[in-house]
Amino acid sequence: MQLATRKLLDRTFTGVGLLAVGLVAVALVAMLGPIITRGLGAFVFQETIEHRRFLLERFGRGDRSEIEAEWAEAQVAREAIHGRITQFESELRKLDWDQRQQYAGPLRDLKDVLHELLGPFPDEPKPVMPRDQYGPTRWDRAQVALEHVLFIEEYDYSDPTQMGKKVLIPRANQFIGTSLAPLFGELETNLDKMLLPRRTFYWRFLFDESVDAHLFGGIWPEVLGTLYLTLGAIVFAVPMGVISAIYLVEYARPESRLVGLLRTCISTLAGVPSIVFGLFGLAFFINTVHVSQSKSVLAGSLTLAILILPLIIRASEEAIRAVPATYKEAALSLGAGRWRTVVTVLLPAALPGILTGIVISMGRAAGETAPIIFTAAVSVGQPLALWEAFSQPSPALPWNIYNLCTEHEAVDAIRHVQYGMVFALLALVLMLNGLAIVLRARIAKRLRG
């Protein structure tokens, strides 16, 4: 081959390589960017007075006198709105039946959307559900609610053979010439005085329990559930995995057919879809062995342990194999037994590799959804104490992200919680991976030094 062609080929390959790396970087930024920015939106946002009230009344946090003063201020600003409604209602009573009927429907709708924007009116009894007790806790949700007050979303069906087109009709049109007409302008200009938005850093989002099915509060039960499941899986899988690896490398005869079969089985186990592990966990741990009466963190941990077992065995096997044969020979020549050699020479030397395997499988266990659907995860539940984890199920991040995206009855109102959960899960896995890198580096350095 000519030199020129070789150079050309070389450059092409470098170019393709760079392109691939660039594409991966772009994909990473495109994926991580929204996750991080939107995820942070669950922590840093413009909170309204409703959020401060909620925190005070539910968790007893915040300066009571200050919040009460603010609440009074907001009430004063809202009085104009509530006053107009009351005034309009008393005016309606004086009108004749037909005119009253004309306004009855629009007024009911208006009150509904006003409830969504400002919470219950001061003269109404306190509702039972927290979602009805408070107005929007976030300014961005308040903007959406305001939009619903100001405009009616309708569709133009003038051509019945075609799909309709969306049109926004100002709600004020329904009340032209009445005392309610100025209400809409007032709302638009004074909404900030009624809700008093303020930028906040709600770091307790991570550590607060959720209230009213995630519409309020934080994600602590999910975070805690994930930590329990992950640690539990490690506790079960690591001893089994490392011991199996030692056996496979050091004790088993390499030419034995049984060992070959065993290796194939482990590889196969690594390729089994995770939902199969989930169903196996349900059928075996819960319905057959009865490790717990219902779904539980314990059953979930055991299922996840089986899932990550092949990963740990493989990583440990490789790590032990990578220890230079001279180490082992030196130990044996000094008269150490096989067991002593393994424990005092091979294992310490293989530790960095084993640890990396463990931490990576921790990341895997933390993020798996399918194995815990049937064995451990629930949509809502309280944070568990350690001993309760043996018998009780718990929410967990991966499953609840899915649950909030698909099954929750108010999906659009709690997008920020979903993003917050995704962010928390990602941060958790990244932290674990970071830990793996640091640990590995430190131990490797120690061994060399």
Binding site: D159, V378, L384, T406, E409
Partner: protein, 279 residues
């Protein structure tokens, strides 16, 4: 090296203890609820209310479908099975064989609303037309006096109680067209319909919001009033099944009778379902 490992272990134990320290004192009782995604919102709201009143109880709710709820109750894996249909004879048999005696508590009444994308000019539909669409006989909206638009049929998985009710009240023995796209929950159904112009789907009353348009069926709108009076044709009770009638005075008993109290009824109405009794 040993000290390193020991300190790591200590750290792990410390973490574990720290986590549990974060939580409150031990919950003395647990109530595990599994089942229907339609009843899910009621169960979650009841759970929130009950745990606020009695912090000693930990109530967990999962939503895996009526059929899975029934299986969990039969296997003793849950205390309450939420179901949006009644138990089937074979489920009863399986339960009794395992010593489980299912007791039904009707907690609310629900109508199954036929929903379409809000841009769809259809306002009403008949049961026969719905059946035609789900059988695959009508594939374009213009065949049911609608716009010229392909119909995207969205159905539910077979573990769903909503599916079974729909099957018996609407399909009446006819088979749903194989091209139908099946989703796993009411929430997913709504999301599919709100993002697809030509879609048709069905959800429980509590899942209707601005983003989808419920159709009148045989001239009757699917709202609380029409469902309560029994005029709306696709209505069904929502159940919570327990193993035997719960012992009086237990948190479980308080939970499954919450729907009888005014607060419970307010919760059910607030979520969008119809209370069994209306005062």
């Amino acid at each position: 090296m040993k000290t390193r490992i020991q300190s790591l272990l200590m750290l792990a134990c410390g973490f574990a203890l720290g986590f549990s320290g974060q939580t409150n004192a031990a919950k003395t009782t647990k109530i595990v609820i599994d089942g229907s995604t339609t009843v899910g919102p009621i169960a979650k709201a009841f759970a929130g209310y009950a745990m606020e009143k009695n912090p000693d109880v930990n109530i967990t709710v999962s939503e895996s479908g009526s059929g899975n709820g029934a299986k969990a109750l039969i296997n003793g894996a849950c205390d309450i099975a939420d179901m949006s249909r009644f138990m089937k004879p074979n489920e009863f048999e399986a339960a009794v064989a395992k010593g489980v005696l299912p007791v039904a508590h009707v907690v609310a009444i629900d109508g199954i609303a036929i929903i379409v994308h809000p841009s769809n000019p259809m306002a009403a539909i008949t049961l026969d037309q719905i059946r035609d669409i789900y059988m695959g006989k009508a594939t374009n909206w213009k065949q049911v006096s609608g716009p010229d638009k392909q119909i995207v049929v969205i159905g539910r998985d077979t573990s769903s109680g909503t599916y079974e009710t729909f099957e018996s009240l609407v399909m009446r023995g006819e088979k749903v067209v194989s091209g139908a796209e099946n989703v796993g929950s009411n929430g997913q159904m709504r999301q599919r319909v709100q993002t697809t112009d030509g879609a048709i789907g069905y959800v429980g009353l509590g899942f209707i919001d601005r983003s989808v348009k419920p159709l009148k069926v045989d001239g009757i709108a699917p709202d609380m009033g029409e469902v309560a009076t029994g005029r709306y044709p696709i209505a069904r009770p929502l159940y919570m099944f327990t193993n035997g009638y719960p012992k009086l005075g237990t948190p479980l008993h308080a939970f499954v009778t919450l729907y009888l109290t005014p607060k419970g009824q307010e919760i059910i109405e607030s979520i969008g379902f119809v209370p069994v009794t209306r005062y």
